[in-house]
């Protein structure tokens, strides 16, 4: 089948707006009487709140409302099992930066002054900043109902690892560490709320998940959902930092209700780092057993995550870390012990590649180490362990399409891997890393049987096509891709499609933009809705032209007889003909629920990991290492991504490049540094996301495995590539200078230190003529 719209590189609908500064973000909103909301934050990492006195703050001129934790005492959380947060601390603060009170005022100056005048009496409690320490701490626990400060632990055993290791010819284990990260999205969080005289609350928020916000507002504020409207204006990136209801959104709403005036609460960059929800500090211990030929017989993994002070997505994160050990290679036996630990630090949550990234770094590194010990190359050891399409893994994940072999083949070819690996001069190296990710979760995190995505398509007398979707466009291009699907089905120009999205009064339910679910799920819903419209038009036209409906083709804005293309009507005529009939306005409705087979097993924790389809990715990185300074420069990255089918190749390439960029940052420079619960680099100057000059040339390669259940065969593209990039770089560093960095980020000092250790122990035989010191970078 030849597509008209699908598969064509398509700039985003409305993409002109953000690039010309015309896009309206939440913080740009101006409403008559708008007040500034600001939040007072705890200076202590753990303390009982003895008293909060707001009387002086209330007297500051310009202050309209002051609230404290008591005003918002209902607990909430993104997970049904993690309802442990309040929008403002009620009787205890658990991390530096946790909100304690909030004010709404006529000006930011008045608001800040009022915050200064709120008097809080704290009684400090012992605080813990490291997961291992927190697990062994005596009471009082950070949450009284979480003994030993363990949020949740899982002990999974699939197959029989004892037998697996016994069958292995070679077993190697290693420990890895990955630090806390922040998403560092360009747009800091912002929320505007307004409460009208009819008792209806409207909230605009820079969120990835309007529906979860809607539910939570209802729960915490005690308003029925039908009296709340949630809108999502333009969002300047989320990466997981905006995919759950957050305190400032609830605070804005409450302040609006109390003051009777609209209120805006926008985070400073420093506050974004304390709001956090990024990747946790993570200890990983990993053991892999293989046969002589590289075939994996067993994997054992232990993970400890320092999740900070509240649950957030933590239980999902700790599960993903274990569950996604599977579904990329064929592993018959897996044992996993995961601990999600509470500490007195800002809560961690989901971040691009949620849960899977750090263990993937460990796994792909250890795989290379084992390959070397066995005299295998990095490609062969992976190829020995390929899955087959349409299998079920040992932990009950259903894998359908499987493009990993093709991804590896393509990057190896494009990078000239085998001409370079072990052959480049000392100081230069190349490495491979692979990864995979879900195309949406098979089971909704909110434990609901409702469809995960719903789309309504409406066609009326103007011939315009209204696409109503609850999805959250956050810069990833999901509005455009749904419009493309509808345009494809109806054979019309993309411009005919108007997307109405992210407004709970107008658009149907969608769970939101997280876990890479939107193209797959909302795409399927859009496809179904568009097909209903097409069927209705086909029916009308078929009767009018006396051509069987299944012979009608929708193409180039016409509906015509495939066997006699001159015989047909324009799309507008077809619509007009249909509107004459008793049904009137054309409405198509689509809904998507993952099939039962894609909802995983029945064991405890089985709900996380299953997906209707998995994306696959392989990256090759070429690096140079300055052996005198220890600096690593990534020269080039080739990344192949199996996205099923690239509905919009331009967007897929953008997502691959974005994933490489974030992988690069995590590999080399990014880390949130904390001391006693305080962040030392809560700003973009000292939190080192790579800039343009730090980026390698990126070659994105699209692999299409045509998934049987994805819309036109599509799977996810937004996250899956990231995880492979980091081990590709680490493996390349090893190839360049023979040192294995197992602690991220790979800083120059760590490289130098490892090089020194290596020369001291003069360990392994050199694979390379090390005497040929590369000309230093400046020569």
């Amino acid at each position: 089948m030849e597509f008209q719209t699908i598969g064509k590189p398509t700039p985003y609908l409305g993409g002109e707006d953000p690039v010309t500064g015309r896009a309206v973000y939440t913080d740009d909103l101006r409403l008559p009487g708008l007040l500034v909301g600001r939040i007072l934050r705890s200076p202590l990492p753990h303390a009982r709140i003895v008293k909060v006195d707001v009387s002086k703050a209330q007297r500051v001129p310009g202050v309209v409302a002051v609230i404290t934790g008591q005003d918002l005492a209902t607990k909430y959380g993104i997970l049904p099992v993690g309802q442990d947060e309040t929008a403002l601390a009620v009787d205890r603060v658990r991390y530096v930066g946790e909100g304690v009170a909030a004010v709404a005022a006529e000006s930011v100056e008045a608001a800040e002054e009022a915050l200064e005048r709120i008097e809080v009496l704290y009684e400090p409690l012992p605080a813990y900043f490291d997961a291992l320490e927190a697990m062994n701490a005596p009471p009082p626990w950070i949450h009284d109902d979480k003994p030993n400060n363990i949020e949740r632990e899982y002990h999974h055993h699939f197959g029989d690892v004892e037998r697996g290791f016994a069958e292995a010819d070679y077993v190697r284990e290693h420990s890895f560490f990955c630090p806390r990260l922040n998403h560092a999205a360009m747009e800091p969080h912002s929320a505007v709320a307004s409460y009208d005289l009819q008792g209806r609350l409207t909230v605009w928020s820079s969120t990835q998940t309007p529906y979860y916000l809607h539910r939570t507002l209802s729960k915490v504020l005690g308003l029925p959902m039908n009296r709340i409207r949630v809108l999502k204006p333009y969002v300047g990136g989320g990466f997981g930092g905006k995919d759950e209801p957050l305190p400032h959104e609830i605070v804005a709403a409450k302040l609006a209700m109390v003051s009777g005036r609209p209120v805006k609460v926008t985070m400073t960059r420093e506050e974004v780092f304390y709001l956090n929800r990024g990747r946790p500090d993570q200890y990983i211990w990993l053991k892999i057993g293989v046969r002589r030929d590289g075939r994996i017989t067993a994997v054992e993994c232990k993970v400890v995550q320092d999740g900070g002070a509240y649950c957030s997505y933590g239980i999902v994160t700790i599960l993903y870390a274990g569950q996604l050990l599977a579904a990329i290679y064929d592993i018959p036996n897996i044992k996993y012990d995961g601990y999600r630990v509470l500490t007195n630090k800002p809560p961690c949550g989901a971040q691009r590649g949620h849960g899977s990234v750090n263990t993937r770094f460990a796994f792909e590194s250890l795989l290379d180490m084992i390959a070397e010990d066995l005299g295998l190359d990095p490609v062969t050891i992976r190829a020995r362990n390929f899955l087959r399409p349409n299998t079920r893994t040992v932990n009950d994940l259903r894998v359908t399409s499987y493009g990993l072999p093709e991804c590896i083949r393509r990057v190896v070819e494009a990078s000239g891997f085998f001409e370079k690996w072990r052959k480049l001069p000392y100081g230069r190296g190349i490495g491979l890393g692979c990864s995979h990710y879900v195309s949406g979760a098979g089971r909704a995190i909110i434990r609901s049987e409702m469809p995960h995505s719903n789309v309504v398509v409406k066609v009326d007398v103007d011939g315009g096509i209204g696409l109503y979707t609850g999805t959250a466009e956050i810069g990833q291009g999901c509005d455009t891709v749904q419009a493309m699907i509808v345009a494809e089905v109806l054979g019309v120009n993309l411009r005919r499609v108007r997307v109405v999205a992210g407004d709970s009064d107008l658009t149907p339910l969608d769970l939101g933009s997280y876990s890479s679910r939107v193209t797959f799920m909302a795409g399927n819903a859009a496809l179904q809705a568009a097909r209903q419209i097409r069927d209705r038009l086909a029916d009308v036209v078929s009767r009018a032209l006396s051509v069987p409906a299944d012979r009608l083709e929708f193409r180039d804005e016409r509906v015509f007889d495939r066997e006699n293309p001159d015989r047909g009507v324009s799309f507008d005529e077809a619509v007009y003909m249909a509107l004459q009939e008793s049904g009137g306005t054309l409405v198509g409705k689509g809904a998507y629920s993952p099939p039962p087979e894609a909802q995983g097993g029945t064991y405890k924790g089985a709900g996380v990991g299953p997906s209707p389809a998995y994306s696959y990715s392989a990256s090759v990185a070429e690096v140079s290492v300055d052996v005198e300074t220890g600096e690593v420069r990534v020269e080039r990255v080739w990344t192949a991504h199996d996205c099923g089918r690239a509905l919009n190749p331009l967007a897929v390439e953008g997502q691959i490049e974005g994933s490489v960029s974030m992988g690069l940052g995590q590999a080399l420079t990014e880390q949130v540094v904390m001391k006693d619960g305080r962040i030392l680099n809560a700003g973009l100057l000292e939190y080192k996301t790579p800039g343009l000059l730090d980026h390698p040339v990126i070659e994105s390669i699209i692999v299409e495995s045509i998934d049987p259940e994805g819309p036109f065969g599509a799977k996810e593209a937004g996250e899956g590539s990231l995880a492979g990039v980091i081990p590709a770089i680490a493996n390349a560093v090893y190839d360049a200078v023979g040192v294995r960095i197992d602690r991220l980020p790979i800083t120059p000092e760590r490289v130098l230190e490892a090089l020194r250790k290596k020369t001291r122990t003069a360990g392994r035989p050199a694979e390379k003529p090390e005497a040929v010191v590369s000309a230093s970078a400046d020569a």
Binding site: V673, V773, D778
Partner: protein, 332 residues
């Protein structure tokens, strides 16, 4: 947290230097001089400065222009870093300076940031360049609002690192600064301008404006290079900066100087004694390297790299600079 508005101030925009000096005559201690603002304004948001007046000097004609005059090359203090970095004759004459200017921050910041502001840059320390909320929470330090140094707790001195890039070149080039006050002006050699005290920083008085940086024309006969360590190439302050200048005549090495920044509260320099130069370079290069390394006293003022690493880089960069300018084979 992270107060997100500027503290209140009044912007004074005189038309010429006289106007600026008139303002300073009355209000010097309540005033901060504003050039490009790329250093001062972010610091004000962090409440490191809350001046009553900002005196804008960026457009004063007396602070503009790049000219060869008598024995000097005169660069107006308000010339932007990009104007310096991209000036063809300056690039030819003083490559270490233009390389240093080109390495500051990022292109758009260099469009705003001036040479004068770069020279007068505040010293940096990760205990200091933080928001008010943060500093208050941890306990103010002696450089601002407090009485202890978190880096060297016992002492009474601030060790914040002077982190201007161009100063490394300017001390090696023996540049001079013209400082103009309502009561008169003075010329101060850059080498005497700075103080090894992160708090007092330099001899500039509150009523003085730096109007020009001038470099002796005879320094144009030197080859020069600037080496900088920063975490991101796209934008970052130096954690180490080394400028190396060499003058040769055929095979003879006539003069060698090294300027050093970002590792002490002030920029430092080392002029190689002329007697050393009578021997072939291999005989003294390492001695120079060690002499420069001894000048560097980085302390734990930077968050992400250790003092030992910065010290190590001083060694690597100095050696690289010398060996490349002296056309010696790269060290193994």
């Amino acid at each position: 947290m992270g107060v997100w508005y500027m503290p209140p101030f009044e912007l004074v925009q005189p038309r010429d230097l006289d106007g600026a000096l008139k303002h300073l005559a009355d209000w010097a201690t309540d005033t901060k001089i504003l050039a490009g603002g790329t250093d001062l304004l972010p610091s004000m948001r962090q409440r490191l400065f809350e001046p009553r007046y900002l005196l804008a000097v960026g457009r004063l004609p007396e602070l503009r222009g790049i000219a060869w005059e008598d024995d000097w090359v005169r660069i107006g203090a308000a010339e932007t870093l990009n104007a310096v970095a991209e000036h063809p004759q300056l690039c030819q004459a003083f490559p270490a300076l233009t390389e240093a200017a080109a390495s500051v921050a990022a292109y758009n910041i260099r469009n705003m940031g001036t040479l004068g502001g770069n020279v007068c840059l505040d010293t940096r320390c990760h205990w200091y360049n933080q928001s008010y909320f943060w500093r208050k929470g941890i306990g103010f330090c002696l450089k601002k609002d407090g009485s202890v140094c978190h880096v060297a707790p016992g002492g009474r001195q601030c060790w914040a690192a002077y982190s201007g890039d161009t100063a490394a070149a300017l001390v090696a080039l023996e540049a001079q600064l013209r400082l103009v006050a309502p009561t008169g002006e003075r010329l101060v050699p850059v080498r005497e301008f700075f103080l090894n005290d992160g708090q007092r920083r330099f001899v500039l008085r509150p009523d003085e404006i730096l109007t020009e940086v001038r470099i002796p024309q005879w320094m144009a006969g030197y080859q020069g290079r600037y080496f900088k360590y920063r975490i991101r190439q796209a934008v970052d302050y130096p954690l180490v900066g080394v400028a190396v200048l060499v003058r040769t005549s055929g095979p003879r090495v006539l003069d060698v100087r090294v300027g050093l920044t970002a590792v002490n509260p002030m920029p430092r320099y080392f002029d190689v004694p002329s007697e050393w130069l009578e021997d072939p370079p291999e005989a003294w290069v390492e001695r120079v390297v060690e002499a420069v390394v001894r000048l560097a006293r980085p302390l734990k003022t930077s968050l992400l790299v250790s003092p030992a690493y910065r010290q190590h880089l001083v060694r690597v960069f100095t050696r690289r600079g010398l060996r490349s300018l002296l056309a010696l084979p790269t060290a193994a």
